[in-house]
């Protein structure tokens, strides 16, 4: 059971890729989406099962291996899942499912390509979630990255290509920086497994190449900041999000940049750079800048997806803030916010996909009063946005609260205060978007618009339910975490 569950994270996407490339192109398009559904759903189930197993056995993590013998010495990439990676894996499944649900109506004849690439990107992300050494991390990062470039450019339109190229260039720089930092760190450690690196770095100040290590740290932060889209490294992010096809935006905004940037950063930070206040504090400041910058910039945007992109920058700031606080509470907050962000941001991108599909545009100046015509989309967007703005009892509030308490407690009250007060800008762009798209009088040329039927609405509804349920049942979750000894 446990083996199956763990192996399915990497094995299933691989298997699906094989399967999809065996079938002919004609039939492939039809079944590929269904295959995707199966993979995504199984991944979600597997994540939940693993969580249950962790809980039942009272373990912190489960180690496993894909092809090699677990106990082989050389080159044996050990994989491991703990609660955080399982939450993340669940999110990957969830967002992939949402992306697939959206894709069914929007992607057209490229369905097979799309599903193939989706499987690749899932493989990459799952890999990021389960690896335990920097080398494998890099490999899966690149897999994720390459798949997402192609996905953005999937429809081969001008905008998509442009966005993909910008993403590619920035991502390559990020890779160079990350890899450079790994190389510099490698000078000191001689191993790339998280635990070994952490041990070797514990005494880094006395190392032979200490200055090089500092350069490595800088490169590390900068590299992952580009990947995560933290201000001021964010330039590519709105362009990529805006230009991608609707279902790919769902994927990118919901999970990909979070995996490639934020999760990897958190993972490395937590397992490698243990107790380095310098890095934590830097990230804290970057997180604060991101929060304020993203939110203020979002207020002036004219495009639905760009608003969401900038809000991602802002929300990533919160996650970074939680981790940077260095305390367990902050980490849990970040984890929960990661999950919540995946939920509400995916909802919003699904909504933007619905609006784009039904009206043909995402320019908010050309929209208005859609609530009368698209009630499901409107209501789910309100819920998602309120969750994002940290309005209780929705999910976003609780994770934000934990993060801010953690920052307040362990670093500075001012930081926490600023982070919280910046939510007002979140509320501001939420209102601008709602007013221009959903609330307000119905524009004349939109009177014929109907609700996006079928899978898109289904995705929005399901995700909204998750957001609301998580928020309302948060006391239960909190109690559970407490009983598990995590809090």
């Amino acid at each position: 059971m446990i083996t199956f569950a763990t192996i399915s994270f990497l094995g299933l996407p691989l298997l699906a890729i094989l399967l999809l490339n065996v079938v002919s192109k004609k039939t492939g398009g039809a079944i590929s989406i269904s295959v995707g559904y199966v993979v995504a759903i199984i991944q979600m189930i597997a994540a939940v099962v693993c969580m249950a197993l962790l809980w039942m056995h009272g373990k912190d993590f489960i180690e496993f291996s894909l092809f090699w013998d677990m106990n082989a010495t050389l080159g044996a990439a050990k994989l491991s899942v703990d609660l955080f990676s399982l939450v993340v894996l669940f999110c990957i499944g969830m967002v992939s499912l949402a992306s697939l649900l959206t894709a069914k109506k929007t992607i057209g004849e490229k369905t097979l390509n799309y599903t193939n690439l989706l499987m690749v990107i899932m493989l990459g992300m799952n890999g990021i979630a389960v690896v335990t050494d920097l080398f494998s991390l890099y490999v899966f990062l690149e897999i994720t990255g390459i798949a997402s470039f192609v996905l953005i450019a999937l429809l081969n339109d001008k905008r998509g290509l442009e966005g993909a190229f910008k993403y590619l260039v920035m991502s390559a720089i990020a890779s160079a920086l990350i890899l450079g930092s790994f190389a510099l760190i490698f000078t000191q450690t001689g191993s790339l497994v998280y635990g070994d690196v952490a041990k070797a770095l514990a005494d880094w100040r006395n190392a032979q190449y200490a200055p090089l290590l500092i350069v490595g740290f800088v490169m590390f932060i900068a590299g992952f900041s580009i990947k995560a889209g933290i201000a001021p490294f964010h330039g590519w992010l709105p362009d990529a999000y805006q230009s991608a096809p609707a279902s790919v935006s769902v994927l990118l905004g919901g999970i990909v940049t979070k995996m490639a940037g934020v999760y990897a950063l958190i993972r490395v930070l937590n397992s490698v750079f243990v107790a380095m206040p310098m890095i934590n504090n830097t990230l804290l400041i970057l997180g604060l800048i991101s929060i304020v910058f993203g939110a203020v910039a979002a207020c002036g945007q004219k495009d639905f997806k760009r608003i969401l992109a900038y809000s991602s920058i802002s929300q990533i700031g919160y996650i970074i803030l939680g981790v940077a606080s260095g305390s367990l509470l902050g980490f849990v907050g970040a984890m929960l916010h990661f999950f919540n962000h995946a939920t509400f941001k995916t909802t919003l991108f699904v909504n933007s996909a619905a609006v784009e599909m039904q009206t043909g545009t995402t320019d908010i100046d050309q929209l208005g009063g859609l609530q009368a015509r698209m009630p499901v989309t409107a209501v789910s967007s309100i819920l998602a946005f309120l969750s994002m703005a940290g309005i209780p009892p929705l999910a976003g509030f609780w994770s934000k609260l934990l993060i801010i308490i953690a920052v307040w407690q362990s670093v500075s009250a001012v930081g926490g205060g600023i982070a919280l007060a910046a939510s007002i800008f979140t509320a501001a762009y939420f209102l601008i978007l709602q007013r221009k798209v959903f609330f307000g009088p119905l524009e004349d040329h939109l009177t014929e618009v109907t609700e996006a039927k079928g899978t898109i609405s289904l995705a929005a509804v399901l995700l909204s339910i998750v957001t609301v349920a998580f928020g309302v049942l948060f006391p239960v979750i909190l109690n559970f975490l407490h009983l598990q000894g995590i809090l």
């Binding site: 009892p393 609260l401 509320a427 609330f439 307000g440 407490h482």
Partner: protein
């Protein structure tokens, strides 16, 4: 325990029931209306049932232990039950009024849902023992307020709704920072566990921001007059019965009951309240939009409530509570009357109205009754509240505050008379209008009569408020 059941019914019937209404509304609009009324009345009835126990000295308490000091619970002491009763009573009448007012507009499902949710959040807020819960319900009410103000969906109207939302949420965020600062100091969000703590000035200021923004006190008040674009029952709900009272209630709950304050706040808060009362009273004199005038009057009267609650004397505090009740009844009535006038004449400009007393006699009388109550003229209920507040101020550490509020009271008389005379007397401008529907007219009549009875049978409400204040302050 039976008592806890009562609180749960009181909170969750409207809170959860609200979400049923749109579903019911798709099938049977009439049933939806009745259900909405029923939910609100349930809240009122349960609050009344809870009153004896709240006054008995062993209030109902329900708690759920949570880690990190997040322990949540509901607690029905006299103050909470009093607020619940006041707001649900007025809200019931307002919902009843809506039957007539709102029936020709689209989005009724959302309207009833939001109204009932609004009441539910108020119920939840007053019983909460946890700062987070207070914040939670506080924000729910802000959301409802946002949807309700934007009910007519016009571009301008939605902008105003956004403004109200932004200002109250902005204040609330600052308040949350204050809450967290208190949490850092005490290690818990549970009010019952942090009773009697002295809180820092910074936290006090931050929390005050939230309270002032919600209760529309200078300088965070400007959303309230702008919210007059909402349907009249909504403005009534916002300005009179529920929304602005949330801030006042939290002020009473936190600073009257729970925290020790530096004595300097006994002067600072009344001064803020006084400036607010005076400036808004002046603005009310200049405005020509009937709803904006009454809205400014609300801001002005809230100053009196704050004065009563913050001046540091028992009489003042009891007067403040009494003021909440009387103001809810009377101001609710005024807004509903304004709604009838607006509905009949299709204008809100008082310069374009006149002599309506001939055509809307019951409305005119109800308006007069409510206006006299707000002015604080006996035998209407507002008199006692105003007297107690001013007496409380005059006997506090800084008696000169009372002078400020006497000027405010004079201004109240002047501007309310101005509206009353301009609208209901003078040359008849709209000869062919008639009274609103029977639901609307009877609602305002009830509120007018309640304002009067509240003064004549003052011993009932006054007994409750006196008891509450004495038991709270002698803890």
């Amino acid at each position: 325990m039976e008592g806890q059941g009562i609180i749960f019914v009181c909170i969750f019937v409207p809170l959860i029931g609200a979400f049923l209404l749109p579903i019911v509304g798709r099938v049977m609009p009439r049933l939806r209306n009745i259900l909405a009324l029923l939910f609100v009345i349930t809240a009122f009835v349960t609050a009344v049932i809870a009153l004896p126990q709240a006054l008995s000295g062993t209030p109902i308490l329900w708690q759920m232990k949570l880690p990190l000091g997040f322990t949540m619970g509901f607690f029905a002491d006299g103050l909470a039950v009093f607020m619940a009763m006041t707001s649900s009573l007025v809200a019931s009448i307002i919902v009843f009024y809506s039957f007539g007012y709102i029936e020709h507009y689209p989005n009724q499902n959302e309207y009833y849902m939001m109204v009932v949710l609004f009441i539910g959040s108020m119920m939840g807020l007053v019983y909460s023992t946890n700062l987070l819960l207070i914040y939670l319900f506080w924000e729910i009410s802000a959301i409802c307020c946002w949807r309700l103000i934007g009910f007519y969906r016009g571009k301008d109207i939605v902008l105003r709704a956004d403004k109200a939302f932004l200002m109250t949420v902005g204040g609330a965020l600052l308040m949350l920072i204050g809450f967290i600062s208190v949490y850092m100091q005490t290690g818990t969000f549970n009010l019952l566990e942090m009773q009697g703590n002295t809180i820092t000035t910074a936290a006090m200021v931050l929390i005050l921001f939230g309270i002032l923004s919600k209760s529309a006190t200078l300088p965070l008040h400007t959303w309230l007059p702008d919210a007059g674009v909402a349907p009249s029952p909504v403005t009534s709900l916002l300005h009179a019965a529920v929304l602005v009272k949330i801030g006042v209630y939290v002020f009473a709950r936190l600073f009257l009951v729970n925290f020790q304050l530096d004595p300097v706040w006994d002067t600072v808060v009344p001064v803020i309240a006084g400036v607010s009362a005076l400036v808004s009273a002046g603005a009310a004199m200049v405005e020509t939009d009937i709803k904006r005038i009454i809205a400014y009057s609300t801001i002005s009267q809230l100053g009196f409530i704050f004065l009563g609650l913050s001046c540091g004397t028992m009489v003042g505090a009891a007067g403040g509570l009494l003021y909440i009740l009387m103001h809810s009844l009377a101001k609710g009535g005024l807004f509903l009357c304004a709604g009838i006038v607006e509905h009949s004449t299709h204008t809100k400009d008082i310069n374009k109205m006149g002599g309506l007393a001939k055509r809307l006699p019951i409305t005119a009388v109800a308006f007069a009754l409510c206006a006299f109550s707000v002015m604080g003229i006996p035998p209407f209920g507002g008199f006692f509240a105003k007297y107690m507040v001013i007496y409380g101020a005059a006997t506090s550490a800084s008696p000169w505050l009372a002078v400020m509020f006497i000027i405010g009271a004079v201004m109240t008389i002047i501007y309310l008379l101005r509206v009353f005379i301009k609208v209901f007397f003078g040359e008849l401008t709209h000869p062919d209008i008639k009274e609103g529907s029977w639901e609307m007219v009877s609602s305002v009549a009830i509120l007018g009569v309640l304002s009067l009875l509240g003064g004549i049978f003052i011993n009932l409400p006054s007994y409750v408020t006196t008891f509450i204040i004495e038991s709270l302050l002698n803890l």
